[in-house]
């Protein structure tokens, strides 16, 4: 067994981001006597906003030059059924990690669903390309270590924007690294360490392209209609994470201004911009 580079990169990236953020200074806190502004600053949860915005600009440059054009080409070249097949295949590969997190969160029913999906799709679904499990009444869901940490009570920490990875926070970034480290496919070599290394990089590359293609319309819409796409993405990410953590199918039935941790909780919540 030989560990691939990816699990070693994640902690290094986290360290780089955190030191960079510490060095670059923080967002200016509003004056102490402006209670509403203080509360907004806290609810926005972006104390290192100048650094994050710089990282966002880096990401946008990479996105404009590489990621988006590749995603547009991918969409143009491959028809929808093929793209769906690839996306199904990738999500099937994530099943072991999803199942682990279902189990860690004590979600026995969802654990069973994930397991059933993996078995059905890997066999009848031709290695995961066809989502036959959905037709058997086992709809897909995602789960990751960031969500598991949240369920265990770990707070998200300050908002982070990471180039290529996108919106995150220390909890979810750590969860991302743990997810790679805990993935059996990161470690299994099947007797061909070099081939598996290449396969893992190919998988990472295709995942980035497939994910970006899936976000084409939504992100184009943000760029077109938002006066501050950075702020829009920050808010959207935190809302979506709250919903994913709560495992609610639709919208989180929170008070209009409240979001909370996404966990059932009776404590009144602060406004969430």
């Amino acid at each position: 067994m030989r560990p691939s580079l990816l699990p070693r990169l994640a902690p290094a990236a986290l360290a780089l981001v955190l030191t960079g953020a510490a060095l670059s200074g923080c967002a200016t806190r509003p004056p102490a006597d402006d209670r509403e502004a203080q509360e907004e600053f806290r609810a926005t949860n972006d104390p290192i906003e100048p650094w994050n915005r710089a990282m966002y600009d880096v990401h946008q440059a990479i996105d404009t030059a590489v990621l988006r054009p590749v995603a547009v080409g991918y969409r143009a070249v491959l028809p929808q059924p093929v793209r769906t097949g690839i996306s199904n295949f990738l999500s099937n590969l994530r099943s072991p990690v999803v199942a682990m997190n279902d189990a860690l969160q004590g979600e026995t029913q969802r654990f069973g669903e994930t397991l059933g999906r993996f078995l059905l799709n890997s066999t009848l679904g031709v290695g995961g390309f066809i989502d036959v499990a959905r037709d058997f009444g086992l709809p897909p869901h995602t789960e990751d270590f960031g969500q598991t940490f949240a369920v265990a009570g770990v707070e998200e920490g300050p908002y982070l924007f990471i180039p290529i990875l996108g919106p995150s926070n220390p909890r979810d970034l750590l969860g991302f690294g743990v997810g790679i480290a805990a993935d059996p496919l990161t470690w299994l070599t099947f007797g061909h360490p070099d081939a598996m290394d290449i396969a893992n990089y190919a998988r990472a590359g295709v995942t980035v392209v497939s994910t970006r293609e899936g976000l084409l319309d939504a992100l184009d819409d943000v760029q077109r209609s938002s006066l501050d796409p950075y702020a829009t993405l920050r808010s959207a990410y935190r809302q979506q994470r709250a919903r994913e953590i709560a495992n609610t199918p639709g919208a989180t039935p929170a008070a209009p201004q409240g979001l909370g941790t996404g966990l059932p909780d009776s404590t009144p919540r602060s406004p969430q911009p």
Binding site: R35, L227, A231
Partner: protein, 208 residues
Amino acid sequence: MIARRTLLAAGAALAMARAFPASAQPVDTARAAAFIQATGQELVAAINGRGAVAQRRDQVAAILRRAVDVEGVGRFILGRYLRQATPDEQAQYMRLFEEVLIRNLSARFGEYQGVRFSLGRSQQRTEDDALVNTVVERPNAAPVSLDWRVSEVGGQPRIVDLIAEGTSLRLTTRSEYASVIGRNGGRVSALLDAMRQQVAQLSSREGG
């Protein structure tokens, strides 16, 4: 995200209550679902209609103007800055907000040619409004779950929020506007300038 201290939350709730007078009343879930069903069918008919693009867009805009509580949503989004704005700025904001909201939504829905729409499984009540879940299906795209938050405004059900895959339009827009104002020294007039520019861009893109 993080559960805040009760005191702060209570203070914030108080501030919210002052900013948004009791215009919204509890709404009956079945009534809200029927309202969304009817509005959705109107929208789908307009989107898939035979007319020219501009004509369909105008129809969509007219339906949205009737169905959405534009003023309530606008007030919610500007939040605490509403009270900081001068009466003139408030009036300008409301006019611009309606323009931006309706144009953005009609442009987005206008691309949904061939759309099909159905009520989803879960309809739920919240403290002062109802969430109506719908599933929007478009050709060559995965079905999208869209939730409509419906409130009773002046005795009529009105849409007060649109939630796509867990992301609330009014929450993201509130964050967006607060950020624009915050990055321009807390001046509401900076937001108005940006909105004016956006309206100009939107109308030039629409070709008129």
